[in-house]
Each structure stands twice: as C-alpha cells, then as structure tokens.
Symmetry: C2
Subunit: 301 residues, 2 copies
C-alpha cells in the first residue's frame, strides 16, 4: 500500500556526553523514511535548500524510496538543528534551530503521489498537516505527530487536525501537555476522544503504550546498553510502525500490536550510532533476528 | 519450599495528591509477606513494639503465613514511617522515620524456621542481612534488597552481603548509586560481578529489568490507570517474584522470567489502594486473570 511521509529533512549537529557529529543528515522525515523503507516503499514530501549535500540525498536513495517529492528549493537553506544530550541521554537541550526552508511555503505533493493510501504527517504546524491531509483524499490511514510548540501556540488548529487523522504517535511529555494527564493510558484515552482511532505514547527508554478502544498494549524498549545518539529514535519508531502497517495493509488492533514490536526494534538500531548511520545499514536479517529476539523476550508465560 | 522473609513490619502514614492514610500497616516485610503468600507459605521474622495494633497482626494472619517469628518486644515501639507523594506519584518525600525497634537488636530466627530454603532479606543494615543469611545454612535461594543509606554509609558491609546472596532486587536509583551506571542493564551486569546470579532492577511505573548471565528480560509495568498509593509496590513485586519461585522450586532463567510477570501483577494490585488493603483482598481468580491478561498483552508476535 503506497505510503507517503511529509516532514523535515535537515542537517543536524548533535553533541552527546561521549561524542559529537557535525552537519549530519537529520530531520523527522529522513529517519521515518529509512525506518519505514525496511518494510514498505515510501514516498517522501519535503523541501530542502540548495545547500543540501548531494551525499545526503544519496543516503535516502534506494529502490524503495521515491524522492520525487523531495524538493530542492533554489535560494533557500535547509532546516538545521543542533542539540546536546545531558548526562543520562534522557534529556536534551536545543542549542539552535534554523527553520530556513521549513518557514517557507510547504512542499508540493507530486500528482503521482495523490493515490497514497497510508500517510504520516510528521511534526509541523498543524494547519499544514491538515492541508496535506485534505490533499490526499485516497488515504485510508493517516497518522500524525506533533510537539509542545503547536500544543501551546496553535491548539485550535491542532484539534482540527486531530479530528481528521486515524492515529497519533507522540511522546509522554506531549501527551501530558495535550491532555493535562500524566498517566499515559489516561492521556491516550483523552486523545481518542479528539478523533483518532489509536494513540501511541512513546516513553523513550521506557518503551511505549498503545491505546485503542479495543485495548491497551504496553511494550518496553528493546534492552540496549549502547546508546550513542537518541536523535531520531521517535521518528524511527513511527517509521517502523507505519511502514509495517502499510506492508500488512491492516490497521486492526492485532496489526497495531505487531507493529509496536517492529517500531521498538527499528528505533533500537537508530540509537546505536549518530544520525542515520546505523539505521541505513540495517539488513532484513538483522531486523528479523532482533524482532524474533524481542518478541521471544516478551513471551513470559 | 519453605520461604522466610526478614524485614520491617511497621506503621505508616501516607499522603498522596488525592488522599491520605494515617497509622496504617506498612513495612517491607508486611507487603512482601502478603504478596508472597499468594503463591507460597511464608515465614516472617521481624520485630514490632508493644504499640503494634492487634488488628494489624490479624491482617497478616492466614493459613499460609507463619507469624512465630514476628516478635512483639515489650517496652519498644514499632517502626514508623510517614511520607508524601508528589504530583505525579513518581517521587516521594519522607516526612518522618522513627526507627524505634528496628534500631535495637535484630529479631531472632525461631528454630522451627532454620530449615528455610528460600530467603528474602528485605532492606536493612547489610551486616544484619549477612548475619541472617549465616543463620540459615539450608537456604538454596537467598535474595536481598538494599537502599541508598547503606550503599553510601556501609558499602564494605554491603559488598560482603552481596557476595553471599543469589539474587538482588533493587530499584533503578539504587542500581545507579551502587554501580555508577545509569543504564539498568549495564548496572545489573556490574552487580552480577559482585556475587549474585540474578539482579532485578525495578523502574516503578516503567517496569523492571532482569539481568542474568543467561540473558536479559525487560517487562513493562502492568498498565494501571488508577494509582492510589505506590507505597509497598516494590516489596510486593519482590514478594510476588520470590513467592512464585519458592512455589515452583525452580530458580532457572525461565522460572525467573515467569516470576517477573507475577511480580508485576501483584504490585499492580498493591497500588490500587492505601496500605495492604487491596493486596490483602486479592483472590487467586483475580490474580490468575490479571496474569493471563498481562502475558497475553506481551505476546506480540
């Protein structure tokens, strides 16, 4: 089932307690795309500036990734983000955000992408998310992310977007800010009342919670000892989840549960190196092996 | 297999954002005992003062609980603790600790308990834990807890105790303080080097991690929306785990993994009401149903 993602493709600088990576490929759509492409072909809709390195475009190039919607805008500059992780990698500080091309008109959806049936609206202004969704009437499964900025500054528009999506994937602090509920299950149930059929609350190293009218599923994170760079873990999680659902062409509770396991495992690869270095190299064999290990670990009769 | 627990039986006052309970039954051994007795007979070794209410003794009385080692010391006062939970229930503040009888000579182990094969040494001075372990030479499985106070003030004695136990059940902040490692798996592996064959790192609402030479298992907490009072959750977890192991008479990795599920579920009952109110009323049917629900939830193929 054709899967489309729209979000940010950017250039990151990341500092961790043990190392740093300067001017590397980043952005929600970059992580999502590489993660989802492990399961399904992906169509990318995003804009970059004329400073976007050809080598970064090459990193996103594969038989399963359609870059016809990755617009290089002449005279514009690519989105840039710099952040620093604190001691235990659970907290980070944003050092710099240069919106650049992201502050301009949103990227256009190529006509060839109009028949997309599964859509992920990565974090951006909710009015843009809403508009993208309207331009994709063939979509059967539309899932979005958001962030604290939009929750606080554009709540009404966010509510309008939540009313037209099928699923939401957010982290625990966003769930709290959106609903005022610190319990992720209670928060998830409140989000369901706003429109979506399912909500995933991500808790970073503590796993994730899936809340649906059919039931609740909690999964731990994959037990990782080597965390090099958590950047992109959440977007990789979303990519693994939605990529798997698109491949299965099923959005029922059982499929959502299986997708959670894939999402968790894909994110566990991302954090093993800076940027998309590890994620890009994951083979199907490695993925299958880790998914089998993870589901076996959880099978505690 | 006869299971013995030695620890604190006390009187707690607990304040939460939504309510309070004054002068209620508390203490590590009280929670552990009621939790473990869901699976196995339990022998209690603890001391209380002459102010210990007969109604609290009655709460611990059952066919499966042997209170011959619960010594009422004339002229002494019972251990008392008062604490207050902050907004999201993850953090608490100790308002008062009166050691009372706990600061006196440790309770005696009745001769009839000397053949105990499974022993849980709840949190206390590590020299007392070591001494208790020495008095129970028939023990095949000895598991201990500890706390920040002993890690910081009696590290050498704690090391001596860790060298003579088979398992350790501690929370994440204790694991960090003990090893300097914030990753619970890495911390667990370091604790294994000190002697034990298994380590469980409890993460409260985020579940627990079992670390053994055979493998690592991570479980989420049972998805609870109604948390009334988290006091005793950790001791109930330990009770559910060790009680199940004693009943199974197996301490292999597979048994430890199954025990984790029981531990998680038993703790999920404890937090549904103040003190031991909910824990004391759990029926075998409720327990079995929730264990089945939890293991089914985790089975995500």
């Amino acid at each position: 089932m054709p899967l489309l993602v729209t979000g940010t493709v950017g250039i990151d600088t990341v500092i961790t307690p043990t190392g740093r990576a300067d001017d590397v490929l980043g952005g929600s759509a970059a992580y999502f795309t590489l993660a989802a492409s492990l399961f399904s072909p992906v169509r990318v809709v995003a804009a970059v500036g004329d400073d976007f390195p050809p080598s970064f475009r090459a990193m996103l190039t594969s038989d399963r990734i359609d870059l016809r919607g990755l617009e290089t805008r002449e005279g514009s500059r690519t989105f840039r983000w710099a952040g620093k992780y604190l001691e235990n990698m659970n907290q980070r500080e944003t050092l710099r955000t240069d919106l650049n091309v992201v502050a301009e008109a949103p990227p256009a959806i190529p006509d060839a992408f109009r028949d997309s049936r599964v859509v992920f609206l990565a974090n951006t202004h909710p009015a843009i998310q809403w508009n993208m969704r309207e331009q994709l009437p063939a979509a059967r499964l539309v899932v979005c992310d958001t962030m604290d900025l939009w929750i606080h500054t554009t709540r009404d528009e966010l509510m309008k977007t939540l009313a037209v999506v099928d699923g939401v994937i957010i982290n625990d602090s966003e769930a709290l800010q959106l609903t005022g509920q610190s319990n992720p299950i209670t928060a998830g149930r409140e989000v369901l009342r706003l429109g979506p059929r399912f909500v995933v609350v991500k808790k970073g190293e503590h796993g994730a919670v899936l809340v649906t009218p059919e039931g609740v599923t909690v999964v731990p994170a994959y037990p990782s000892e080597r965390v090099v760079d958590p950047t992109g873990a959440g977007d990789s999680f979303a990519g693994g989840m939605i990529g798997y659902l698109a491949a299965k062409d099923s959005f029922h509770y059982a499929a959502l549960r299986s997708a959670l396991a894939r999402a968790t495992v894909v994110a566990s690869f991302t954090i093993e190196d800076f940027s998309v270095r590890r994620l890009r190299d994951v083979t199907c064999e490695e993925l299958d092996r880790r998914v089998a290990e993870f589901t076996r670990m959880l099978a505690i009769g």
